[in-house]
Structures are given as structure tokens and as C-alpha cells.
């Protein structure tokens, strides 16, 4: 093959550029950056680098508004994952990322490779993963595709995480017809790193060898990044299946151990995961960060299929692969460490100083591209945005009994045992509490008396009414969940799931969601250190709810005396924070969103964290979704103890008091006397609701009473998710036959 054969006329190349997802303007820009008409290989590389998935071209302008600085930030956005200092010489490295499109097309492999990708992002930084989590959004419980997607996604996460050996400790699952055609699979991972042993995705040092390690390259996932930046139409899923990759968690486990062995020795300069856009994005990002160039010999790339072209090798998204830049002289040792684990480790190139990525195939130069312009100077769009008029909030305060019955079988706020039991939650022997047992998972940091809390939160319904406030409340809820486990909110990773940014009203929700999230983080003084953006979540022109997901990580700086959600028989139950007075922002009726005062949230987070950390309350729980009723039900179900509670609020309906969420509050259980409770929460409204104990759950609110035995509540909630997975989306309430 000669270069002449690859060069083509302007017209046929434009045709090809459009085929691989570039716009006409972008093709013009590509010619400018390249100083020539790019050949086919080069166009493939450019289209991947400039895909929405890799370049963030629609969101970059707005992402810059997020706060990313703080005293504890060791590594902020822009690397494979962010790192925050937790003291004692350790840092936590974490990130949440979407795998929405592939999981809809092929749920088992789509979700599995989502988990694999996020784990690699974390362990390339030098960290050993100690916790994984996920946030899943499916279509309506009775939608025809929901059972298949739910079963497949949970299996994919289970298959991958369990084999890899990371405990999956937190899961949030909800169902809403807004996700009928575009489900959300947001995967989170967190690892612990020694602060003096952090590795970055850099290609420094002229002449340093570049190694390809891990699994062999196949033809799977070619143009996956471009697919993930596209929208769906009905029955598109079958046609797009070949762009989904296949995961091998066993191989990734070997890769982790081989990388850990390298980290422990002084042999590496830089390391980067081959994720979306495979070899292309990893090479360009590493060279770009270092301001260097790279010479790459594609014929040396290990392949599992014969006859793969340079184009295919550059764009394959085969899983479980990494690029390493090693120190000169350490080549043999690096290879020895990988071969011990039975993995390929091949030198495929070297670092150069000309700022160009030069691709060779059998000695022939098949592509030459400038590294930094392609990585950093990708198109950046200020897409027009325009706020749609929000529908007025319509109160639906009647029918207390009906709302209660509905809440009991609300698939989005029910018992998730069927999901959690498929995840190994204990490997690593550091999981103290998982998310099925408490408002946030708590995982001890090895070799310390500290723990991290993990919670993943989004407020899609609230965001569809007010994306700014909904985005903010995702942060607030995350912070409250951390505080309920005695942790100070430490930092956030965000996963921004939105529809088509070329629709101005959708673009407005993206802008609002980012600004709201950033505003809330500033109010609480916490940084956003990593994340990703998933756009074009639309089918046949209908976009999902705007869904900014917040992964909130908190730090319990001393486990001694901290009560990790253990309500006791005979204790008092209190509501801390203002009681709900309307159904605005609740799960009842059309989506709506009330506004929370940031100062109220900050005070509540602060006092709750201190009371739990100091052992003054035995448990604390959030009321953010289905209100006071939800918090009481969860307390009863988790502890097996009854609760007798009463709350009367002037001027509010019984439904609002029980199911409302228009103000931030938490429910706590405590053995303190009344005066000491008021002292512990000084400055905040508190009201005593009743006591923990017995075997029935009773809530009396403004003249209405809801009561049931705890056993019946557990039974009604227990099989809900399994029922949906088995194709029975019909909700069976309390007292109805199954």
C-alpha cells in the first residue's frame, strides 16, 4: 500500500467524512488543521476525536463553569479520573460514566463493558478499586422492553464486577416512561491510591518506549464513540449491535494485577486506558497532555483477527487494553511483569518531539496528524439554547390512601434486594454498609480507621420541570446521604445524561443542569473532579428527562463512635428540617420541582453529619423523594422494627405532610432526651414524630392515618423488582393477592 492509494479527492473524502459523522464545517476545519485533505485513516481518527463522546464539543463551554478546585483536590477533571486527598498519605480516585447507548442495544455486554471501562479509568491512575456503584434508569415498569433490559443490565454489571473482584455497594434504580427508548446505565468506581504513587496519562520523554498491553485487538466497537454520540430511531438497536464491545472481566483482573505490579516499581512514565475510540484517543490524549509526538507501528499491534487494516486498528474499541509509556531501560522488566499474568505486552512505538502522531503500517507512513490540535482544539459549539415554558404546578392533595398505596408499590423507591443480591458486595472485606441497608454505602479505606461513603443520585423528574434546581438538588441529596452516614461531603463526579443538544430547549436544560449542579457544589464548598457527558439520548425526536447524575463521595474521618444506620427499639424518631407543606417536587402527579434554600441544606448537612459522627443519633435518612413516609418505611424495613409517628402541619394537606419533598429534611432515630436533640440540631427546626418499636408502622398526618404491619410492608415491596424483571410490571399493593 502506498500513500498515493490512500489519498483521495476532496469530494470523495467529504462523502466519507459525512459517513463517519463529521459535519461539512468540521470537514473544512479538519482540512485547516491538517493543512491538506485528510486520507481515510486520518478522517477516521479525526471523526472519533471530534465525536461528541470524545470532544465534548456541545458541552465544553458550559462544563468550564463547574467548580473543580479545593484544598483536597490532587487531580481534577481532564485525567482518566479525579483524585481527592483523604489524609494519612492516601487519596481516593473516582469517576462516574455513562454506557447508555450500548446498554440499550445489548444490555448484558453494554452494561458489563461500562463497568470495565470505569474500573480501568480508576486503576490506570495507580489506584486499587475498592467500591463500585451504579445508577440505572429504565422505561416504564410495564413497558415491553423493560424486563429484558433490567435483567440484562443487572446481569452485565454482576458478571463483570464480581469476576473482577470489586464490591458493588450502591445501586439506584428507577422506572419512568421518559426512558422507554433510551435507558441510562451510569457506572461508578472508586479506588484508593497512595498519594506518592499516582500515574497520569502522559507521553513524556523523547525516545521512551510505548507499550500496548492487555487483550488483543479485534473488529468490535469500531466507531463506538460515534455511535454513542448518535440518537436512536425505532428498531435501530438491532442494526447497531456490531458497534457494542464484548467484555472479559477475567482479562481485566489480570490487567489490574499486572499494572499494580508495575506501579510498585519505578518503570512507568504514563499510562492510559483504551476506552472510547480505542488506540486513537489514548495516543492523542497522552501526546497532547505532554506536548509531545508519537510514532506508532500499527503492524505490531496484537490482533485476534487476521487482515485488520490500520483504520480498524486505530478505531477498534476492543476492551481490556491499555497504553503504557515506560522508562527507557525498563522495557524487559515491564514485559516480564505483564507476561507473568499471561498478558500481551508489545512495544508499538516511541515518544517523539515533533508534536505529530505518525502512524506506520509495515514501515509505510499511513497517517500523520498533529496531536494537540486534534485533542484540544476540537470544535467547540455554543449551541443556541432557549428555555421552554415550565408547566404550572398542579396540586393533587386529595386521596391520601391512594397515594399511600401507590407509594408502597412505587418501583423506583422500593426494596432492591433482587438487584443487590446479584452483586458481590463484600469482596475486599472493607464494605461496612451497602446501599440497600442505608442512605449511602460505607467502605473502609484499607490500613486506616476512615471510610468513604458512596451515593449516586439524580432527579430526572424534577429536572424536567426545572433543570437548574433539579441539578442542584441531586447535589444536595448526595450531600445529605453522606451526612446521614456521618461523612463530610468530599467531592463529586458527574454524569450528564441529556437529549439532543441541537434542540434549543434541550440545550437549555443541559446549560441549566450544569449551572445548577455547579451552584450547589459552590454553596456546599465541594469540587467536581471527574465525569462525563452523554448526549443524544433521544428516540424518534423525543429526548429523555434532563438527568444530571451526581456521584457523591463523603469521608468519615474516624469510624470510632460513628453510628452506621442502626435504629434501636424504643428510640425516639424526629424530623429535622422543615416539614413538607406541598406536593411540589414529590413523586405524585406531573413532574414538578420546588426550590430549596442552599443555606438550609448546608446547615442540615452539617448538623446531621456531626450528630451521626458523634453517635448522638443511631440513624438518619433522607426524605428527598417520597417524603417523610418513605424515610419511615425504609427505617422499618431495614431494621425490622415498627415505627409510630405523628405529624400535623398547619395549612398543609395530609398528603403533602406524608409524601411531600418541597423542603430539605432528614428523619433521625435517637436515644437522646428532647433537650439534647434540640441542642444537637440547634438552629434547625425539629419536631418529635414518635418512637421506634413494635411490629407495625403507623403514620398519622393531619387527620389521616396510614398503618400496616412491618411484615406486610416488607412483603409488598420485596418482590416488586423481581416481578418487573420477570415481565410482571403490574404493581400489586398491600392486601391485594399476588
Amino acid at each position: 500500500m502506498t500513500i498515493a492509494m490512500l489519498q483521495d479527492t476532496d469530494d470523495t473524502q467529504l462523502e466519507h467524512a459525512l459517513e463517519v459523522g463529521l459535519s461539512e464545517d468540521e470537514f473544512e476545519r479538519a482540512k485547516e488543521v491538517m493543512g491538506k485533505v485528510p486520507n481515510k485513516v486520518e478522517l477516521g481518527v479525526i471523526s472519533a476525536m471530534w465525536s461528541e463522546h470524545c470532544s465534548y464539543k456541545s458541552s465544553r463551554l458550559h462544563l468550564a463553569k463547574l467548580p473543580s478546585e479545593g484544598d483536597n483536590v490532587i487531580v481534577g477533571p481532564g485525567e482518566n479520573a479525579g483524585i481527592l486527598d483523604v489524609g494519612d498519605g492516601f487519596g481516593v480516585c473516582f469517576k462516574v460514566e455513562s454506557h447508555n447507548h450500548p446498554s440499550y442495544i445489548e444490555p448484558v455486554q453494554g452494561a458489563a463493558t461500562g463497568v470495565g471501562g470505569i474500573l480501568r479509568d480508576v486503576f490506570t491512575m495507580g489506584a486499587r478499586p475498592i467500591a463500585a456503584g451504579n445508577l440505572l434508569r429504565f422505561g416504564a415498569a410495564d413497558h415491553k422492553k423493560t424486563p429484558h433490559l433490567l435483567r440484562g443490565v443487572v446481569q452485565g454489571i454482576s458478571d463483570y464486577g464480581n469476576c473482577f473482584g470489586v464490591p458493588t455497594v450502591y445501586s439506584d434504580v428507577d422506572f419512568d416512561s421518559a426512558y422507554n427508548g433510551n435507558i441510562l446505565v451510569n457506572a461508578f468506581a472508586l479506588g484508593v491510591v497512595k498519594n506518592d504513587q499516582i500515574f497520569l496519562g502522559r507521553a513524556d520523554g523523547i525516545g521512551n518506549p510505548i507499550f500496548y498491553v492487555g487483550a488483543k485487538t479485534g473488529r468490535d466497537g469500531i466507531h463506538g464513540a460515534t455511535m454513542a454520540s448518535d440518537s436512536f430511531s425505532e428498531d435501530d438497536d438491532q442494526a447497531k449491535r456490531p458497534t457494542v464491545q464484548v467484555g472479559d472481566p477475567f482479562k481485566e483482573k489480570l490487567l489490574l494485577e499486572a499494572c499494580q505490579a508495575c506501579f510498585a516499581e519505578d518503570v512507568l512514565i504514563g499510562i492510559q486506558d483504551m476506552g472510547a475510540a480505542g488506540l486513537t484517543s489514548s495516543i492523542f490524549e497522552m501526546a497532547s497532555r505532554s506536548g509531545s509526538g508519537v510514532k506508532l507501528h500499527l503492524d505490531l499491534v496484537p490482533t485476534r483477527e487476521t487482515g485488520m487494516t490500520a483504520y480498524e486498528k486505530m478505531l477498534s474499541e476492543s476492551q481490556e487494553r491499555m497504553v503504557l509509556v515506560a522508562k527507557q531501560g525498563a522495557e524487559a522488566r515491564v514485559q516480564e511483569l505483564f507476561h507473568r499474568w499471561g498478558l500481551d505486552c508489545v512495544q508499538v512505538g516511541e515518544v517523539t518531539d515533533d508534536g505529530m502522531v505518525r502512524l506506520f503500517d509495515d514501515g509505510v507512513e499511513v497517517g500523520v496528524l498533529p496531536a494537540r490540535p486534534l485533542a484540544d482544539e476540537a470544535p467547540k459549539y455554543d449551541r443556541p439554547h432557549e428555555r421552554a415554558e415550565a408547566p404550572a404546578f398542579v396540586a393533587d392533595d386529595g386521596g391520601f390512601d391512594g397515594h399511600a398505596k401507590q407509594a408502597l408499590v412505587d418501583a423506583g423507591r422500593t426494596n432492591l434486594d433482587w438487584v443487590y443480591e446479584q452483586y458481590d458486595r463484600h469482596v475486599g472485606v472493607m464494605t461496612l454498609v451497602d446501599g440497600a441497608q442505608a442512605p449511602a454505602a460505607v467502605v473502609q479505606i484499607p490500613s486506616t480507621n476512615k471510610a468513604v461513603t458512596v451515593a449516586l443520585v439524580c432527579q430526572g423528574r424534577k429536572c424536567s420541570a426545572d433543570a437548574h434546581e433539579g441539578g442542584a438538588q441531586a447535589v444536595y441529596e448526595g450531600a445529605l446521604r453522606a451526612a446521614c452516614m456521618g461523612a463530610k461531603p468530599l467531592g463529586v463526579s458527574d454524569c450528564l445524561n441529556f437529549g439532543n443538544p441541537q434542540v434549543p430547549t434541550v440545550m437549555q436544560t443541559l446549560v441549566d443542569g450544569i449551572e445548577g449542579l455547579g451552584h450547589a457544589c459552590r454553596e456546599l464548598g465541594i469540587p467536581v473532579v471527574s465525569g462525563n457527558v452523554s448526549l443524544y439520548n433521544e428516540t424518534d425526536g423525543v429526548s429523555i428527562h434532563p438527568t444530571p447524575t451526581v456521584a457523591m463521595v463523603g469521608l468519615v474521618d474516624n469510624l470510632n463512635g460513628t453510628h452506621l444506620h442502626q435504629p434501636q427499639d424504643g428510640e425516639a424518631v424526629w424530623l429535622v428540617g422543615a416539614p413538607a407543606t406541598t406536593l411540589e417536587g414529590s413523586r405524585i402527579g406531573a413532574p414538578s420541582c420546588a426550590t430549596w434554600a442552599p443555606a438550609d441544606v448546608a446547615a442540615l448537612v452539617d448538623k446531621t453529619q456531626q450528630a451521626v459522627h458523634g453517635g448522638q443519633v443511631s440513624s438518619a435518612n433522607v426524605t428527598c423523594h417520597a417524603g417523610l413516609w418513605q424515610a419511615l418505611v425504609e427505617t422499618a424495613v431495614r431494621s425490622g422494627l415498627g415505627v409510630d409517628a405523628q405529624l400535623d402541619v398547619d395549612g398543609a394537606s395530609a398528603s403533602a405532610v406524608a409524601f411531600g419533598a418541597n423542603a430539605p429534611s432528614v428523619v433521625v432515630t435517637t436515644s437522646l432526651n428532647d433537650d439534647d436533640v434540640r441542642k444537637a440540631f440547634a438552629g434547625l427546626p425539629v419536631v418529635k414524630l414518635g418512637t421506634v418499636g413494635g411490629d407495625s408502622l403507623q403514620l398519622r398526618a393531619n387527620g389521616e392515618t396510614w398503618s400496616s404491619s412491618v411484615a406486610d410492608v416488607i412483603a409488598a415491596r420485596g418482590r416488586r423488582i423481581q416481578g418487573i424483571a420477570e415481565g410482571d410490571g403490574h404493581a400489586v399493593g398491600l392486601g391485594e393477592s399476588v
Binding site: Q155, C163, F164, F250, K253, G342, Y423, V429
Partner: protein
Amino acid sequence: MKAAVVTFPGSNCDRDCLHVAGNVVGAEAVSVWHQDSELPAGVTGVILPGGFSYGDALRAGSIAAHSPVMAAVKRFADKGGAVLGICNGFQMLCESQLLPGALAPNRDGHFICKDVLMTVEPSVGLTGAYDAGQTVTMPVAHGEGRFVVDDDTLKNIEAGDGPVRVAFRYQQRETDGTASLNGSTAGIAGLVGGPSFNVVGLMPHPERCAEDRLGGTDGLALMAALAGGAK
């Protein structure tokens, strides 16, 4: 007291076992590589840890059974050395015929991770750490934990006076005697065998319930018995 924990490619509970044997039990805990053909000198107990050795290729534990280190483990067991196979380690013990039967995929077809109640049946050798009839709670985490065995062997195991006995039995069972958890034959969760009842294999994870901070300590006695050698 010197406990060896074998690491196979895909083992993921090896570090946890090293932690418990070393930091909790207080034994000397050493790591052994699957390619080693001899155990280190002075080893008094061997742990085959949980995980997905060799990616569960063919059947869980089947390739590990043919690894160089397993020949050494067999020689060690034949001489009365204490061997504990946990989860994937139990699968290896069956695949290498140190214990009878096999572990098949769970009845429901998916992975199960939860706490289970079990009865300790005999108090012999390694299970002498417990009283016969004692109830213990341990977490399971497996996709292939349904114990299956031919009828004659099962009869010998159940006779209770042979060379291989039921070590742990799941308490919650169906009317046909199988474990409600995973369909395991006769509710069998673990076996004890070897020349001096020095070999124990079980699906639940004793190393995950050996410390108060993790909410349970029923596994500590077994881990301690192993790390200290059989009685």
C-alpha cells in the same frame, strides 16, 4: 503457624485471606503462586481462595485443579496438612478430587450474594473449631454453588461415619431437601474430608465474617483453625 494462600490468575479473595490469616488470626501468612510446584517450607495450612480462577473457563475450578501448585497441595493434604477451599477453592477441591462431587450453576441461574444460616454437622478435624449442631451465619457470593453428587456417594457422605462428611448445611431448604438458596443437594454448603479430616471445602466465605467491624465473626474459628493447622 504458617498459612499459605494460593493466587491463581483470577483469584480475587486471596488478599482478603492473607489479611485475615495474618492480621486477624495472627499467623504468618504467605502468598503462593499457581505456577509454584512446591509449597514454602514450614507451611501448616493452605487456603485456596475464592474468585474466578482462569476465568471459570470450562468449569469453575477445573483448570486450577491441573495447575502445578495443586499437585503440591494434594501431596500436602495426603500427609494430613490442613487445606481450606473457599468458594472457588471448594470448586477446585472437587475438581481435583480431594473432595467428591461438583458445584453446578445456581438453580435460579444468577449470582447470589447474601448472608446464610448454616448448621455445623460434625465437630472433627478442621471443623472441630465449632460445636456439632452449632448454627453459624456466613455470607455467600457465588454463581456456581449448587453441590451435586451421585447417589451412592451422597449416601456415604450422609452416613456420617465415613471419610467424607457434611461440614456445613444450609438451614433453609425446600421440601426435597435442596437448599432454597441455590438448589444444592441435601442443602450441602461444605464438606470435610482428607485422611484426618484435614480438608474442608465450603461455598460461604469465612474470611468475610472474621471481624466485628464487618458485622459478624462466625468465620473466625475456621480461619484460625486453618492458620493454626488441624487439631
